[in-house]
């Protein structure tokens, strides 16, 4: 498990950004990472910050495989082409995930056994970052009590604490989420993840040492950039980054529906114990 790691620099930037919001000259040093593309200023929420509320989803095939992949047979040949995996381009900056040797072997094993061992197949909570690029929409609720992410998949959700940072308690699937604004960008520091969730259907994974820093930045009226920096010294040789686009659902009747998937996983999990 990884407890809170809020760098002094991060706090300083947060304080300076907050000052900027209240109309004072932002004397912040150049941000370490690219902020919003010059020129786009998102609509404002009730508190003057960028408004990220709404229903979002990705069109990437990142949930199949974060890295570059050709189309191929899925884990269930019985489903024919319906179960096949579409091709996709890597959403990992630099192309590939820097696994340590033992972890690379474990990933291969995960791939081989993915039909029955992917936590998504079991309807387990998706963890962070995977929740954000699964093929289900999610809604961001920007409230005075914090920023809530509600995911359609498995009714999972997480409340991002925007107040004084909290230290992670027990490890959880969705982590302890501490957020702050860096100008137009919502930055979320995620600790206390249990490391049981996979990162995609290809068996990419982490340990409970995983620490994720996410950056959500609106780039125009209907698109948002999502970046996640992932570090886990037990699994990866260095930190690496996911970078993908989230699309806003613009239909007038767009809303989250329910995908309580436990019952769809019961045959897989308990079928062997049923009365024959």
């Amino acid at each position: 498990m990884v407890r809170m790691r809020i760098s002094m620099r991060g706090l300083l930037v947060a304080v300076l950004s907050a000052a900027a919001v209240f109309g004072q000259a932002p004397a912040a040093p150049a941000p370490a990472r690219a902020a919003a593309p010059a020129g786009y200023r998102a609509p404002r929420a009730y508190d003057g910050h960028a408004d990220l509320s709404g229903i979002w989803f990705t069109t990437s095939s990142a949930n199949w495989d974060l890295q570059d992949h050709s189309p191929q047979q899925g884990p269930m040949w019985e489903l024919g082409a319906i179960g096949a995996e579409p091709a996709g381009q890597s959403v990992v900056e630099g192309g590939s995930i820097p696994y340590l040797p033992a972890a690379a072997a474990k990933k291969k094993q995960n791939w081989t056994n993915r039909r029955t061992t992917d936590p998504e197949a079991k309807c387990y909570m998706p963890g962070i970052p995977r929740a954000n690029y699964m093929p289900y929409p999610f809604q961001i609720i920007q409230s005075p009590a914090g920023i809530l992410f509600v995911y359609e998949y498995a009714s999972s959700n997480r409340l991002v604490n925007m107040g004084k940072p909290m230290e992670a308690g027990s490890d959880t699937w969705m982590g302890t989420n501490n957020g702050h604004w860096e100008g137009e960008t919502l930055v979320i520091d995620v600790t206390g993840l249990n490391g049981l969730a996979w990162l995609d259907r290809a068996g990419d994974f982490s340990s409970d040492e995983i620490h994720v820093v996410e950056r959500f930045t609106r780039v125009d009226a209907t698109h948002m950039n999502y970046q996640a920096t992932i570090e886990d010294p037990k699994t990866f040789s260095k930190p690496w980054k996911i970078n993908l686009t989230l699309y806003k659902r613009v239909e007038k009747n767009a809303q989250l529906l329910e995908f309580k998937c436990v019952e769809f996983a019961e045959e897989l999990l308990y079928g062997q114990y049923k009365k024959k």
Partner: protein, 328 residues
């Protein structure tokens, strides 16, 4: 924040008193219901028939309830390691949130006798004949041929819309969040976050069915009114998503639940829910849960399904028992 107008007049109908308190407003002008509103266990769903239409305990009955709570607390403190402890599927007793005793005689406030109205004839027959005479799996009766023999609470699917808020022995946290155009009602019980639009949009198509239904909210003065339809008939309505004691809680797809959230003071909120399902009950019924604000309460992630050993163990145990009885 206008608190001065809050007047609690004993003996008047509660609704009159509630009307006096004006909730603070959110920055965008809606009544502000936000905060942590954990439930307090200890009021039975239905009132014992002997108490008639009496909504509060007598002094003697209340003293008895307080005494029972004290004994329970003492028993809880004696850990699960007690020599007489039997294996079971419940949580260890020191986890339990038994709440503070109150004088209320039942959560049901209407009908006036505090009891569920009679079932319709159609529903009585349905319940008798369900699943070839086995009945609905509201309460587990030892059948364990397949997961479907266990109710949705055992299976960690959901406790249902009412069951997620009715206080039980653990995970009683509720939280309300708001943003312009939406209210979210979060329940710790199996990590629910029900997003309720306030923009007056119509319900989704009748073809779409959900365990927690499809909710639409609007304001009536200081009260948030939420109407929910589009339920499945696979869940159960009652204290834990599995019905209420002695009853499977089965209802029809015509179920409609009308919830009313009203702040009655700086740290109190009344949650009322009226259950309307003419195919199942001969008349509507209403529960009232008085919630107290506690911003120190933390909603923790309840990974119920992820940690569900019960289903696999119950089913495999039943198979082992059958195999053993064949040998004998």
């Amino acid at each position: 924040m206008k608190r001065g107008a809050f007047i609690f007049v004993l003996g008047l109908a509660a609704v009159t008193a509630w009307g006096q308190y004006v909730a603070p407003k959110t920055p965008w002008g809606d009544p502000d219901l936000q905060g942590m509103w954990p439930g307090n266990m200890g009021v039975p769903m239905q009132r014992p028939a002997a108490q008639g239409t009496r909504t509060e305990l007598t002094d003697a009955e209340y003293a008895q309830r307080v005494q029972t709570a004290k004994q329970q607390a003492a028993a809880d403190a004696v850990d699960v390691g007690a020599p007489a402890a039997k294996p079971g599927i419940g949580p260890p007793s020191y986890w339990t949130e038994r709440g503070t005793p109150t004088r209320r005689t039942s959560l049901i406030v209407d009908p006036p006798d505090g009891r569920l109205p009679p079932l319709t004839k159609v529903e009585e027959t349905l319940r008798k004949e369900a699943r070839g005479g086995k009945g609905f799996p509201g309460e587990w009766r030892g059948e364990a041929a397949a997961p479907e023999d266990l109710n949705i609470y055992y299976r960690c699917i959901t406790r249902g819309l009412l069951g997620s808020v009715i206080p039980v022995v653990y995970n009683n946290g509720n939280q309300i969040l708001q943003e312009p155009g939406y209210v979210v009602f979060r329940n710790e019980m199996i990590h629910e976050s029900r997003v309720i639009p306030l923009d007056g949009r119509p319900h989704v198509s009748e073809s779409i069915r959900m365990y927690l239904g499809d909710s639409r909210g609007h304001w009536e003065g200081n009260t948030l009114v939420v109407e929910t339809t589009n339920f499945t008939d696979q869940d159960a309505i009652g204290s834990n998503g599995a019905g209420y004691p002695g009853d499977p809680g089965h209802h029809s797809r015509d179920l409609k639940v009308i919830e009313r959230f009203t702040r009655t003071g700086p740290t109190s909120l009344n949650y009322e829910a009226t259950v309307v399902d003419p195919k199942t009950w001969t008349k509507p019924w209403t529960i009232l849960i008085e919630l107290k604000k506690d911003d120190h309460f933390q909603l923790l992630e309840y990974a119920c399904h992820e940690g569900n050993y019960a289903i696999g163990d119950i089913l495999s145990g039943a198979r082992a028992e059958e195999a053993a009885s064949k040998k004998n």
